[in-house]
């Protein structure tokens, strides 16, 4: 004799929103754990498996490594701050470094054209643009790169 309580599925949440704030030292070895944390929240909100396995990890890794290497130049006295907000509509990620910033609109090299394909670098911002729905940069004491991705089923 065994009975499972209710055969109806539990009623869905009306709303769910998760916000994360992480601060890490300027050390690329921290990247993977941050990515895992953010990806797990997207999983909780039932984002598309490809978004969880590809778009989010790659775009966030790029933003973090740029912040650590280009922004903070791996200075142990400088930190990188990450904010992520996830709900059923979209994921917003912000990566802030203590560097001088850069002109995002000037960085529009297409690494997928001609001999650029043979280059070892220069694919970071390109991938962020292709894997996110929107990326932008602004300053607020710190240099902040903001990425937005709409949720797909």
């Amino acid at each position: 004799m065994r009975s499972v309580l209710s055969t109806d599925p539990d009623p869905p949440f009306k709303r769910l929103r998760v916000a994360l704030e992480v601060e890490i030292p300027s050390d690329v070895r921290c990247i993977e754990r941050v990515v895992e944390l953010v990806a797990r929240q997207c999983q909780e909100l039932e984002y598309n498996p490809r978004q969880i396995a590809l778009n989010v990890p790659v775009a966030l890794t790029e933003a973090l490594s740029n912040a650590i290497l280009r922004g903070n130049h791996e200075d142990p006295d400088k930190n990188v701050q990450v904010r992520a907000e996830v709900d059923r509509e979209q994921l917003i990620m912000e990566v802030a470094d203590e560097g001088d910033g850069f002109d995002l609109d000037m960085c529009i090299v297409d690494p997928a054209i001609g001999d650029n394909v043979l280059r070892e670098d220069g694919r970071g911002l390109f991938l962020m643009r292709r894997l996110m729905d929107r990326i932008e940069r602004y300053s607020n004491h710190r240099n902040i790169v903001r990425m937005v991705m709409r949720r797909h089923d």
């Binding site: 690329v28 890794t61 997928a112 390109f126």
Partner: protein
Amino acid sequence: MSFSIKKQGEIVVVDVEGQLIVGNRQELKQKVLDELERGEKKFLIDFSQTGYIDSSGLGVLVSLSKKIREQGGELRLANLNDDLKTLFELTKLDTLFQIADTRERALESF
């Protein structure tokens, strides 16, 4: 994340376990270059156990492919899942590398 290297016949087979990203790509590069220096010519990198790859991971693959070719060697990639395939397509790196669906096909292709 870890890399395991073994010889299968005259082919050096590298398994990338976990992520291939800025934090560990140097390790992969060094391992393959060491083998190249020892005189190995045929390399297969298998991604069946790989999570995601970032731009610097892709950069290391580009760099290795050049160095191997310079020594008269060959590099093949195998077992990219759909997400990784998309990454190679986005960056047009699918046109630069010889990519096989399975390890067996990659081994036969040398």
